[in-house]
């Protein structure tokens, strides 16, 4: 159970990115964060794994306040939180396998890292993860030789290597086309349902939100302006969505179901 209490983030330049944000996320939830560009979605996600230090407030995860963690404790906690990025953030010139393995760094001693080695179990794990995401034949390529969709799957595999209990995904599909967007989100859904991982994901498209989320919060100017259950979202109309979201709101588009099925068939 993750509980955010009165979270506030003021950047050095005075920008107030989050204002007194509070909400809870039960384990196993697929929480989608929506909101306009600049509403504070990335800031919120980065506060949870402390890539950004919150200015005020508590981030209670199973009773531990992440906001107070330092040093080793923080590292140990970060291992349990996977993160997926809009621009994949792979080390482009390294091998796919190395990129995936780097998800194990939190479990690897510095001495081992200095010589660039990973344990046999870790390497086996990496192959399992690659297989699970259907990119084992890309393992020995350089990361930047892969297509966008494949790169994001490497990103998911890297997060998977951490054996996390929670995955933060900051607009994981914003730089992908709709078919690939569905396929990546299906992997996240799989992790959510099969591996019981909590997913916190920011998204832009209403139909993706409706299709994958179990709960939604909406941010505007750093404040929560909407909270809804799965049922609420299913019932939501484009107009209501636009209300929270502003004019930028859009659907991925219709007519994709067919393409999607082909993709699913291919992946299976």
């Amino acid at each position: 159970m993750l509980e955010i209490r009165n979270l506030t983030k003021v950047y050095d330049d005075g920008t107030v990115a989050l204002k007194n944000v509070s909400f809870g996320v039960p384990d196993g939830e697929f929480l989608v964060v929506i909101g306009l560009s600049g509403s504070g979605k990335s800031t919120l996600l980065r506060c949870i794994n402390r890539l950004i230090d919150p200015t005020e407030g508590e981030i209670l995860w199973d009773g531990v306040d992440l906001a107070q963690l330092k040093g080793e404790e923080l590292r140990m906690t970060r291992r349990k939180i996977g993160m997926i990025f809009q621009h994949f953030n792979l080390v482009k010139r390294s091998q796919v396998l190395t990129n995936v393995l780097s998800g194990r760094l939190g479990y690897t001693s510095t001495r081992r890292s200095l010589v660039g080695r990973f344990s046999k179990e870790d390497i086996d794990k990496a192959w399992v993860a690659l297989k699970r995401l259907g990119i084992e034949d890309q393992a020995l390529k350089r990361a930047d030789e892969l297509s966008g969709g494949q790169q994001q799957r490497v990103g998911v595999a890297r997060a998977l290597m951490q054996e996390p209990s929670m995955i933060l995904a900051d607009e994981p599909v914003a730089s992908l086309d709709p078919v690939l967007a569905h396929s990546i989100l299906q992997y996240l859904e799989m992790l959510n349902q099969e591996d019981k991982m909590t997913i916190i994901c920011s998204l832009h498209y209403l139909d993706l939100v409706q299709r994958y989320s179990t709960r939604v919060i909406g941010l505007r100017d750093g404040e929560i302006v909407y909270e809804g259950s799965r049922a609420d979202i299913q019932a939501m109309s484009d107009e209501e969505f636009k209300d929270i979201y502003g004019e930028e709101a859009e659907r991925v588009g219709s007519g994709l179901e067919g393409a999607l099925k082909v993709d699913e068939g291919g992946a299976a």
Partner: protein, 507 residues
């Protein structure tokens, strides 16, 4: 600001009319080129034309004075200048044409305010081109007619390999003793016996020398046996105090060529030679000898060739050591010159600007100047060359490295950090993979440049093959110089290929 629009000649953009009547504008420009344009309201054009005209005028005056430095008075200087350098006539004509063209331009401009004639700038360009031709002393005729004189030197440079091989030489020396003058109280020396070795035999073994007044010396019948067939034999003398000199006959040195049996014969007149005043013995033994220099044994690489190879190796290592030390120093420096690392606080930002500034200054000083300074400090030799290149390499690599650091993508660093990796692990897995390829690439590139440059540095005493090349050129040994040139070219080509290959692998 409106220039861009004016070029478009849009109807709505017609400029305001001239301040003065059209003929007056032309007249003004006749007196002071550019003034007419200014009065026609094209002020910047007028100023531009005036300064172009003034510059050209200044250059022209300079060239005339340079051509006729001893003359005074305008007419004399011009006449002498035209006479000595007919090209100045062309420039003078062009210059007058330019003056008139500016007048014409003022006229056009004042009359048609909606148009911007460009032809005058073309004329200016032509005048500058003509001046450049004259100042550069370009002489195509000379170049073509003199080309064949350079041919012997060039052909030696182009194909120097005759000098790469040499043979051991053996000196065959056969001596016959001649007593001067013929003794009265004892027998003259015995004649040589003919055996299997090279030997010379004379019919007489004593005689008198030619006198200064032209009295003939004794004619000796000279026979040579067992010499190497077909190879020149020099006939020489050694006088009693062992000064050697060559036999001349009929004004020419006596050079004999043995026949296929190694035999030659010749009648020689004993030469004229002063004896020192201290000579007071009644007779002296003179040595008549035949000298044949012959190549023996197998061909082997010449001294010069070996020297060139040695210096080439030295050059490559000068480049390598310079790169090595350059990298060692540039690596830490580059972190201080990377903006993204140094923009955290005002203090670090000041350091950044300082380091950047110093690097830029060092880099803007040519390696050849560093080399000259280094030679003064540590003397001629490879170390001076290495020092010179190290300085330049630090500056150049420091800049390139720091730019590579600046272009690091922060995304992967954040991502690795988020997995729970510690600082060291983040550097190893997210920072180093990003900077190694550009670093390797720049380093190889630098090595390539340093080897090329070390040949140039050698010219001013920085060791290596450049130093050797200059020496060979100074003693007009074009063949050995040619070998240097060839080795430099081959090395540079190989290096070029290798460095391109390595860089292709890494980037």
């Amino acid at each position: 600001m409106n220039d861009k629009m004016n070029l478009n000649h849009k109807a709505e953009n017609i400029r305001k009319p001239s301040w003065v009547p059209v003929p007056l504008a032309a007249l003004f420009s006749l007196i002071i080129p550019g003034l007419g344009q200014i009065f026609a309201r094209s002020i910047r054009r007028g100023i531009l034309l005036f300064f172009s005209y003034a510059t050209i005028l200044g250059l022209l005056v300079w060239r005339f004075i340079l051509a006729a430095p001893r003359d005074e008075g305008f007419a004399d200087i011009v006449k002498k200048g035209w006479h000595l350098d007919p090209f100045l006539i062309i420039i003078t004509i062009l210059f007058i044409l330019l003056h008139l063209w500016i007048v014409y331009d003022a006229y056009l401009l004042a009359k048609h305010r909606d148009r911007t004639p460009l032809s005058v700038f073309f004329v200016i360009l032509v005048v500058f081109f003509a001046l450049g031709w004259q100042i550069g002393q370009i002489d195509l005729v000379n170049m073509v007619t003199q080309a064949d004189e350079a041919l012997p030197a060039l052909s030696r440079i182009a194909w120097p390999w005759i000098k790469a091989i040499e043979y051991d030489e053996d000196e065959i020396r056969a001596v016959a003793n001649i007593e001067v003058p013929c003794p009265e109280d004892h027998d003259p020396p015995a004649a040589n016996e003919v055996g299997n070795d090279p030997v010379i035999v004379t019919d007489l073994t004593c005689g008198i020398l030619k006198e200064q007044d032209g009295t003939l010396g004794t004619i000796l019948r000279l026979e040579g046996h067992n010499f190497i067939p077909g190879v020149d034999v020099n006939i020489m003398w050694a006088d009693p105090i062992n000064n050697e000199f060559r036999q001349r006959q009929g004004g020419e040195y006596v050079i004999l060529i043995p026949d296929e049996n190694g035999y030659f014969e010749f009648d020689i007149e004993m030469p004229y030679r002063l004896l020192p005043p201290s000579a007071n013995e009644p007779t002296y033994i003179w040595e008549l000898f035949a000298l044949q220099i012959a190549a023996v044994g197998d061909a082997h690489l010449s001294q010069d060739f070996i020297l060139v190879v040695e210096k080439m190796i030295e050059t490559i290592f000068i480049g390598m050591m310079a790169t090595f030390f350059g990298v060692i120093f540039a690596l830490p420096v580059s972190f201080f010159a990377a903006r993204n690392l140094m923009s955290a606080s005002p203090v670090t930002l000041v350091i950044y600007y300082l380091v950047r500034g110093v690097l830029n200054i060092i880099r803007s000083i040519e390696p050849i100047i560093w080399a000259i300074s280094a030679v003064i400090v540590v003397g001629l030799g490879p170390f001076a060359g290495i020092l010179a290149l190290v300085f330049h390499s630090i500056a150049a690599l420091g800049k390139l490295y720091s730019e590579a650091i600046e272009s690091i993508d922060p995304g992967p660093i954040e991502a690795i950090h988020a997995t729970g990796a510690n600082w060291v692990q983040t550097v190893i897995y997210a920072v180093i993979p990003q900077i190694i390829p550009p670093f390797v690439s720049f380093t190889i590139y630098r090595w390539d440049i340093n080897v090329r440059m070390s040949t140039i540095i050698g010219l001013v005493g920085g060791g290596g093959i450049g130093f050797l090349l200059v020496q060979f050129i100074r003693i007009l040994d074009y063949r050995s110089a040619g070998m240097c040139v060839w080795f430099i070219a081959i090395t540079v080509a190989i290096l070029d290929y290798v460095s391109a290959e390595i860089r292709a692998r890494f980037v």
